[in-house]
Symmetry: C2
Subunit: 211 residues, 2 copies
């Protein structure tokens, strides 16, 4: 699949590398490729960088790997996303008052729904925001892959594209929570996730829904 990853932080780099390793045709969109290339954390093994304008024109899938508070601006900058499947892995974390962060949107709305409203015609699917980046496309790193990943979205076909991608990456328990509104619950998981990370002293964990 032709995939444009938006976001050059740890999540974008990790997902970009993992998606390319899965055989996808990946580019990473950034406002200033030259400046990004000059960063110490950028190395030659990463997928090619492209400037944001038009970066999603040929994409079959756009991955939002930016910080939640800047996601809508970033996604608007990569061009018209009408008809595109947008996989939103971000979280609306607000660090302005320090750690732990609060949620910039919650309970009666979600970041994923804000993106859907702000990007007319895009087909937003929420997934993977519930775990650390390294596990997102390498589920075997925790519990031999015996954990759960969720999907939520209003477009069944788009959810099918994301589910197929997840299964190809090794996920065996992909739980469809229904409409994009379910992203409220997925994003409100983060405060508990952060507490668990603090208690365990590691981000290398995931939840399994046992039934």
């Amino acid at each position: 699949m032709r995939i444009t990853v938006v976001g050059t932080g740890a999540v974008g780099r990790t997902l970009g590398t993992a998606l390319a390793a899965l055989g996808h045709d990946v580019v990473i969109a950034t406002r200033d490729p030259e400046a990004t290339r000059g960063r110490p954390e950028w190395d030659g093994g990463l997928p090619p960088l492209v400037p944001m304008p038009g970066a999603a024109d040929d994409a079959e899938l756009v991955v939002n790997a930016t910080a939640g508070t800047v996601s809508l601006d970033a996604l608007r900058a990569v061009g018209d996303l009408a008809g595109k499947v947008v996989l939103d892995v971000s979280n609306p974390l607000d660090f302005s008052a320090g750690f732990p962060p609060t949620l910039a949107v919650k309970d009666t709305d979600s970041l994923a729904e804000q993106l859907q409203r702000g990007l007319p015609g895009a087909r937003v699917v929420k997934a993977l925001n519930t775990m650390t980046a390294g596990v997102m496309l390498e589920p075997g790193l925790v519990g031999n892959g015996d954990t759960t990943v969720f999907v939520a979205g209003d477009d069944e076909e788009a959810k099918g594209v994301v589910t197929g991608l997840l299964e190809a990456a090794g996920w065996r328990d992909v739980l469809d929570l229904g409409p994009l509104e379910a992203a409220r619950g997925l994003e409100m998981w983060l405060p508990l996730w952060l507490r668990i990370m603090g208690a365990l002293g590691t981000a290398s964990f995931n939840l399994k829904i046992v039934r």
Copy 2:
């Protein structure tokens, strides 16, 4: 242990029965024992009902099994809780706008913290609010007991009392999340829990933190 359960709904009845079965000396506090006894769901196998005033005087543990929106009033009605261990299993669900409920408190505060502030000297411990009532003290009902329960609280000794109770009930993975502030995350889990319940068509599930 002498335990006063506050709340006569499904959670209070289930916990009262399970605590008595574990060998504890249990009473269930209600505003009007006569009226409660007359309800169709009340049967002779349940622990004795006592009127609220003074119901916690002899208790070593008080269990808050009321609806979150009325919990503080109910706990105040059972007497002075200074020095008492208060196990809060409730959730601040607001059904006033229908289903799914919203959260009456969240993100920068929690119901458990409100109870702690409103009950001077009480030793509030949050636990068990993350699952359906039937599993709370019968963890073996889901995945042969191979799931996770959390505790949070500011009083280490009180957390030890609750942890001991949970372990005696069969819990093998009791994860201490630290101070009562962690109840924010535990309570914000509910919206996701409700979505999962909807997707699975059952409340008989629990999360396991795999690491």
